[in-house]
Symmetry: C2
Subunit: 639 residues, 2 copies
């Protein structure tokens, strides 16, 4: 019997997620009737290429019939794996024999069965072992019972024979599917900025070329992805002014999410930002800096979008013939018309929406941040993802769905590579531990969190009240808890002024106006950001999300956790002071087994922010964190 | 989207278990894109009869997209259910409209959509409601906007319309299967006895007819099932003597599990016990007492079993041609040959094994306690169960598999109606709470525990050391925690002497000798057993296993839990003193919501053992339990 095989998503109806060369943990319960000795292995192959070979590795037994192992796939695309189990007939016979002998039962009549099993096994053994063993067997069998027994019960013999995989009597789990993406789908540091603010004086719009000039600084900070809000023409109808005011002046650029004007729609570039050539230049600049550009995929239109006149059938009309603007009462968005994905002409609409992706992929964009996917049918996303997987498996989709857990999980299962999460609002020690435990265990096989710390829409109360100290603490949390995390420009200046008390909107939000910034000041968090991103790059345990463990600390303001590689050859322990105002000192109590350490032995704890080395011993350690100096300890632990 | 539907076993590959008229809880996550108002229902039908009608009931929404409800099936046999969800278009429209009005948005252009939706809905509404509503609608529509709005936004209107199930736009989960058995599969009190001891003087064997004479006393104790160890002829070869000694005298009757002699095998009755007619008499006596007889189904043979000579091919032979006796080194059972279910002639063997069941079913036996099913292939049991389900769906199989959790669960999934558990060895408060929580939640949809407190093989250390006090406490635990529980004769005399220290075998075990008993003594636990079984019969909450909740008590020796019906119309609270030697008094802290009670209100707590009434208020109550007097409180709680 082979049961409880993992990773599995929706009983195998959906593929589990992996990235190239990721060590994917595999587990199953394998058991049988009677007292037989079992062997198991996991076999897998990529389905991206027609005749990729099967690979396999044995599983190791744990408690209560559990068997564990890992698989690793190199190719992007679909893959499958199965668990196989079989009886090690010779080992079973040997163990029973030994038990009988120990119990003083006459073993005589059983020896011949042993020789029989040995012969069958030998046939399947690879040369030269086969010949050597056969030779030794002949000699032993010719000798007395005593020597025969010693030979047959020899542990090295049974160990050698247990490597044999039998031709028959093998039981196999139903194949389960995996979807393998490039590593960036799992690991990356994201930086969000508005191109129109780059090189702007606050009055004249910035440009894509000016954005290109900013890239070296962002690359220096150690980011991997630069995400741009919509760069398309912006509508005039219902345009919002500063701070989302209903009336806009001629100077107000409007919200980039009000996509489309007489200058074009989702495949056009806002003339103020530059040309398509400029955009290609930006892409090249990014590539040369080791950066990747991510675009916004926001499926909605301003009333001036070309589609409104060319394809009125794609919008929901009211009885009076008017198109209803987007709204989430009491909120209204007069500058936005939602698309009606369930309209009669849904086929042509869906094709047109996919066409947008196709267009930008052709330009060289391979990452898209998807705006509010939960307000469109899941069936549409399934259709989009299936096509992307077939045509552009390298494309990464990030779901911006701040909605119910069930919908967020469903979108991830349908194939979004990454998802925004509630991390932003998990602020206390218990909230962080509980939520991250959920993300790194329950849903880890299909939902990859991208722990954005702030966004143009989300300036949390914690950041508003906590000052730079809170920004530093959240930075370390996001960057060390998540394999992927992100910040929105201005975070690195600790911008924390809200539109009004109780609001998560920024005062003078960049969504409605140009926001040139000066990062040269001493207040800049960029040095810390750079250091933290560098640590992420130097430590593989921070580049994965499956192995995250929380440890106990006496002080509720100190959250303590560790990440480790499966081989335990990189282990990083993090302690963060969640109180941005005062120094906290307390004892932390480490689960050393999670750090790959033995209780008695001393071990090195290297503070990666300060560079100091500590030699620790045992699970109980004293830490002291002054938020004015360091928000956290990031400790590399090693024997 | 409809996800996380339950009850579900192995992704729907196996049916979930239910009994006739059981209120089976159903749950699912149902959600959609956007802000639509959803309705859901569960539909089910029996598949036992070709054209059984679909039944349905609406589900009620909970947190995070969860919907909950119940289904109930009357017919024994297979059944199926689906979850359906749809948008309540009119309600969605109404809520948006109200939001808009509250937000001061012009509702004017939306009113007509409302009338449109109303018309479509009306067509599907049942008369006379339809006519009345249509009439009211006409009037309202003819009047001014003000009245129109009031009519359309009226809550009773939308409530009425939300009862309508649309023809299209309905989404449906994949059907899941259930297997429905008669209530005895879930609920029952079992009593195990050896017929050969009934009416015996210790030298001459008891009989089936003498056993029939014992039934009234057992029925008076409130038991439902009388389970008999094997009643077949017993082999002579390797017969065990008293206390499992290797040498047997002529007086020693041998172990009933060493089945088969020249007098016959699994379909024969031991001549000392009587004839097949006597057995039929016993069955009739049982029926007249409202009792049911359960037989032992032990698929193994004594060396003298007719099969050994008639079908040597059904046994595993050693190279020297001998058949190996059963063994679990260092233990040996020279009196037993195991059957080789994987032998070449497995088909005829499996048929013969099934034939045994068929024979006794014909005699009128419908419950079998299956001996060590985990030492036979699971595939065999699957085959047996499929045939039984087809030919004799009323038959109940109890699995005696004390083995790994995975195998125990697998056997339950394959279709055993009930399973022995580890309950016997869970003795501390934490062990009991953790294990019973697992049984009543994780595996409750397919594994039905039968909480046997002792067996001829298992006299736990707790019972050996605890004296009558321990017996009383375990009795209350088994009888009130489990919907099914059982005791083996002698428990009701608090027999607690082990073969030797550290052994769970009885001294002078009835497995190897006759054990006539006198229950007339004052030491007898029968009065308490009767009382407890009577309480079980009077309280439906004790006849089910899905709704069991543990409550906090300050004293580690006091375990506190409650059981309740889904309608909360029967709630029983139990507090057991696990210390058989001393009185414990302490405060218990009740989760009143689990008792269907409100915090402020006083409630009646009727002590069902003593008959005393208490009026309690609030969650914190003081209890005092003297094991010499009462081992426990069994409190019926009511407003």
């Amino acid at each position: 019997m082979i049961t409880d095989v993992s990773p599995v998503v929706d009983c195998g109806r959906r593929p589990a997620k992996a990235v190239q060369d990721e060590m994917v943990p595999v587990a199953a319960r394998v058991f049988t009737d009677g007292r037989k000795v079992l062997r198991t292995r996991v076999r897998w192959r990529s389905l991206a290429t027609p005749d990729a070979p099967w690979q396999s590795t044995p599983l190791t037994p744990g408690l209560e019939d559990w068997w564990h192992g890992h698989l690793t796939i190199q190719e992007i695309g679909p893959a499958e794996f199965v668990i196989e189990g079989w009886e090690d007939a010779f080992q079973s016979w040997r163990n029973d024999l030994v038990r009988r002998i120990d119990a003083g039962i006459d073993a005589e009549p059983d020896i011949d069965s042993g020789w029989g099993l040995l012969e069958t096994s030998l046939r399947r053994l690879r040369a030269p072992h086969r010949f050597r063993l056969a030779e030794q067997a002949r000699t032993a069998r010719a000798s007395g019972r005593e020597l025969q027994l010693r030979f047959l019960t020899d542990e090295t013999l049974s160990a050698r024979l247990s490597e044999i995989i039998p031709v028959s009597g093998l039981s196999r789990s139903t194949p389960l599917s995996l979807w393998v993406e490039r590593p960036r789908a799992l690991y990356g540091a994201w930086y969000e900025l508005f191109p129109r603010s780059q090189g702007s004086d606050g009055v004249i719009s910035g440009t894509l070329l000016a954005t290109a000039d900013e890239l070296p600084a962002i690359a220096d900070m150690g980011f991997d992805v630069v995400y741009l809000p919509p760069i398309h023409p912006i509508g005039h109808t219902g345009r919002r002014g500063r701070n989302n005011s209903q009336v806009a002046t001629d100077q107000d650029p409007g919200s980039p999410w009000a996509i489309g004007s007489e200058m074009g729609g989702h495949t056009a570039i806002h003339p103020d930002l530059g040309s398509l050539d400029d955009f290609r230049t930006l892409l090249e600049a990014a590539t040369s800096q080791g950066l990747e550009i991510a675009l916004d995929y926001a499926l909605q239109c301003s009333p001036d979008h070309p589609w409104v006149t060319a394809h009125p059938e794609w919008f929901a009309h009211r009885p009076d013939g008017s198109i209803r603007a987007a709204e989430n009462p009491p909120k209204r968005y007069d500058d936005i018309y939602p698309l009606d994905f369930g309209c009669r002409s849904w086929r042509s609409l869906w094709e047109a929406c996919y066409g947008i992706l196709e267009f930008w992929i052709e330009q060289g964009v391979h990452i898209f941040r998807v705006d509010n996917p939960h307000t469109k049918p899941v069936a549409f996303w399934g259709w989009v993802v299936r096509r992307l997987h077939r045509l552009h498996p390298e494309v990464i989709l990030l779901a911006e769905a701040f909605t119910s857990p069930a919908m967020m999980r469903e979108l991830a299962k349908v194939g979004f590579s990454q998802s925004y999460t509630y991390f932003t609002w998990r602020t206390t020690k218990d909230q962080i531990a509980a939520y991250l435990a959920e993300l790194s265990r329950e849903s880890v096989d299909y939902l990859r969190p991208n722990l954005f710390i702030n966004t143009p829409d989300i300036l949390t109360e914690e950041l508003q009240r906590g000052g730079p100290g809170a920004f530093r603490a959240r930075l370390v949390l996001g960057a060390t808890l998540g394999a992927s995390y992100g910040i929105y420009s201005g975070f690195d200046l600790a911008e924390g002024t809200a539109l009004h008390d109780g609001s998560e909107e920024y005062l003078d939000s960049e969504k409605y106006q140009l926001r040139p910034r000066d990062f040269s000041g001493t207040e800049s968090l960029r040095p810390l950001v750079s250091r933290v991103n560098q640590i992420r790059r130097e430590h593989r345990s921070l580049q994965q999300f499956r192995r995250l463990d929380f440890h106990w600390s006496d002080d509720p303001a100190l959250v303590c956790y560790s990440k480790s590689t499966p081989a335990m050859d990189d282990v990083v322990l993090v302690v963060v002071n969640l109180d941005p105002w005062s120094t906290h000192e307390s004892t932390i109590h480490l689960d050393l087994s999670r750090l790959g350490l033995a209780d008695g032995d001393p071990y090195l704890a290297r503070e990666l922010l300060s560079g100091e080395d500590y030699v620790w011993q045992g699970p109980h350690q004293f830490v002291r964190l002054n938020p004015a100096r360091y928000p956290a300890h990031i400790l590399w632990c090693s024997r």
